[in-house]
Amino acid sequence: MTRKRIEITTGFVQADYNFWVGKYMDKFYDGLESKQVLGNRCPTCNRVFVPPRKVCGNCFKTIDLSNNWVKLKDTGTLRNFTTTRIAVSEAGKKKTSEAIPIGMVQFDGSDTSVVYPLLDVQEKDLTIGLKVQVVWNDELKGHPRDIKGFRMLKGGER
C-alpha cells in the first residue's frame, strides 16, 4: 500500500464570521477604553460577574441592563497560574522561546476570575493569593487586549 498524504494547508475551513457582542459586553468594552473595568451584580444572589452577564445561571434571572453595574478597581488577587511554551492559536500550536506565565485574576469586588498574562514575573515567584494590578496597553481600543496583563504588587503597595 502506498502512503501518500495530501495536505491542504490553507483556506479550507477559513471563513469570516461576525459576533455581535451584545449590549452587556458593549458596555464592558466601552469601559476598557477609558481604563474602567465594569462588572455587574446579580440582584438575587449578589454575585458580581466579570465579564458582565445578562443572565445569572444560578438564579436564572435577568440582570437588568439599566442598573446593577459595578465599577471595579484595577486591582485583584491571583487565584491560579500556569506557564507554557506552547502557544495555541486558531490555526494550530507552536513552541515559543519564552515561557509566559498566565493567571486567573479575581478583581477586587468581584466574584469571578479572568485569564490574562502575568507581566515581569517568573513562575518561581508566583503564589496563589498575591495581589495584582492591571497594566493597561498604551493604545486603548475597547478590546480585551486593552488590558495588557497584570503586574505583581509588592508588599503593602496599593
Binding site: F19, P51, N80, V88
Partner: protein
Amino acid sequence: MNKVGIVGYYQVPPALDHNMGRYELIFQAVRGALDNVGLKHKDVTSVVSATNDYYDGRTISNCFTVEAGGGYMKDETKVEMDGAFAVHYGMLRALTGHHKLVLVWGGSMSSCYPYSSSTLLSTDPTFERPLELINDMTAGAFQMRAYMNHFNVSAEDIAQVAVKNRRNATSNELALPESQLPAATTEMILKADVLSSPVTELMYSHPCDGAACIILAPEQQALKIRDDPVWITGVGYSQEAYYLGDRDLTQSQSMKNAAQMAYKMAGVKDPKKETDVAEVFEHFAHEEMIFSEALGFCKPGEGASLSTEIGGELPINPSGGAMSGNTPCATGMIRLIEAAKQIHGDASEHQVKDVHRVVASGQIGLCAQNNILFVLERGGRK
C-alpha cells in the same frame, strides 16, 4: 421502567496517524460491532453518531457518514459531543418501544486537525479567544493547580495516576502504542516535557485517531440476541458554568450531580462498596482523582489514598483510561465498552476478578465542564 442492554461493541485500535480515511474507520467500528454478535445491518432500526463538524472539517458532519455509519435510510441523528452522550441518546430511542436495535458510534481523526485549537475555539469569541491563552492544556493546568493547592495534594500523587494508567495500558491490546509505559515511574512522569505547568506531557491523554461502536437493544430484544447483555441501570449528566473563572476547579460538581442521578436510578447507596470497577474519561491524571472523589469513592482531596490498580480495593481505569488513547467523540464510549468487557470477563490481560457493576463516564468541555455517568450491571436471564 424497561431496561436497555448493551448487546455488542467494537473498538478500532487507536493510532496517532491512521492510514485510513474517516469512512473506513467508522465502517470498521460499525461492521465489527454487528459481526461480533452476528447481527445484520437490516436488523438496525436507529443510528446515533457522535462526531464534530470542526473535527471532520465539514458542516453537519453526519451528512457524509450516513453510508459508512449504517444510517442510510434509517432513523438517524447525531450528537456533537463525546460518544457517551450519544449512547444516552440511543438508549432513549430504545426506550420508546419503537426501536429494537440501536447502533451508536463515535470517532474522529485528531491527526487531521489541531485539537488544542478546537478547545481555544470553545472559549468566549470576543473576550477570551483573541487573547489565545485558554486551551485544553492551560485549562487543565489551572485545574491541576487548583486541586493541588486546595487539598495540599502533591504532584507525585497525581503522577502516580499516570504511572498506573500507562502501565495498565500495556496490558490493553487496544491501547495506543505510544501511551504504553510498562516501566513508568513517578519521576518519569514528572520530568516529561511540560505542556503547561504543572501538567506534563505524560499526565495528558493525547488525542489520536479512532472510532468505536456500541449496539443497544430494549430488554426483551436484548435477551433474544444474547444471554448476557450488560444492562444500563443508571445514567446522569450535568453541566457547569461556561467561564473557567466562574467555576470551582478544585472539584467536579457536575460529576457529583451526574453520579447522584445515576446512583439513585440504579439504587446504589454506597458507591465504593457497590462498585467493582470504574472506567472514567480522564483528560488529565488529576481529573481521575477529582472524579473518584465526585463519584463518592473517597472524601474530597483523598483521591490519592484510594488503591485503584487492578487488584486494588476499587480498580479505576484498568484499561489505562483515556490516557490509553483519547479519540475525541469516542473516548467516553470506549469507557463504556471497557466496562462491558469487564462485566463479560472479556478484558483479557487487564481483567478485574468478579465484576458485577461498573461505572463509566464521558465528558466534554474545558476542565470537564460537562460529565455523564453510567451504571452498568451484569445481565442474564433470571
